[in-house]
Subunit: 104 residues, 2 copies
């Protein structure tokens, strides 16, 4: 599904890491909050509050969840989940990584 | 109004100028298309196909429409309009410029 339907979208973006990550917050009809975003080529560490599932929309990402030693890859259509109160490293090379972040 | 309600949002972002400008496409219930985006500090030139109105959501922007000699400023809540098949220069300094682009 290339788009969310019947949602609200916050006009002001969320800008992280000097713009290496930009997202917009989306609220579904049932009140569930998600974000649609993009990460430009960079190596970054994100902290989680609640658990997060990162779904790759386009491009690909290398990721390593806190406590893991191995880096893995999530390509378009693939997802990975991160526990709450944790962190994960991501590495994006060449092409932007487009994602949907699911919370909780 | 800080958000659009009852809209569709395309999950994949539009990435321009190596990520200096990132936007997401929004489609209103009546089929009208808009985009919500952010420009990081940079000096850029955008071309228009259809006429565009750029509404500042947060931050501010210096702009100059093709054929004008003067630069002007659009702060939060202010807008400027650009004819179709034209172009405009923008300059963003320090803080990201958050905008809604209205087409037609």
């Amino acid at each position: 599904m290339p788009q969310f339907d019947n949602v609200s979208v916050v006009k002001k973006a969320n800008v992280y890491f000097d713009g290496k990550c930009v997202s917009h917050t989306v609220v579904l009809a049932d009140g569930v909050k998600k974000s649609v975003g993009v990460v430009l080529p960079a190596k970054l560490t994100f902290n989680t509050g609640v658990p997060e599932t990162m779904e790759t929309v386009a491009g690909s990402v290398r990721y390593r969840i806190k406590g893991d030693t191995a880096w893995k890859t999530a390509r378009a259509g693939e997802s990975f989940s991160v526990p709450g109160n944790s962190s994960f490293d991501i590495e994006v090379t060449e092409e932007p990584y487009h994602y949907v972040c699911h919370f909780g």
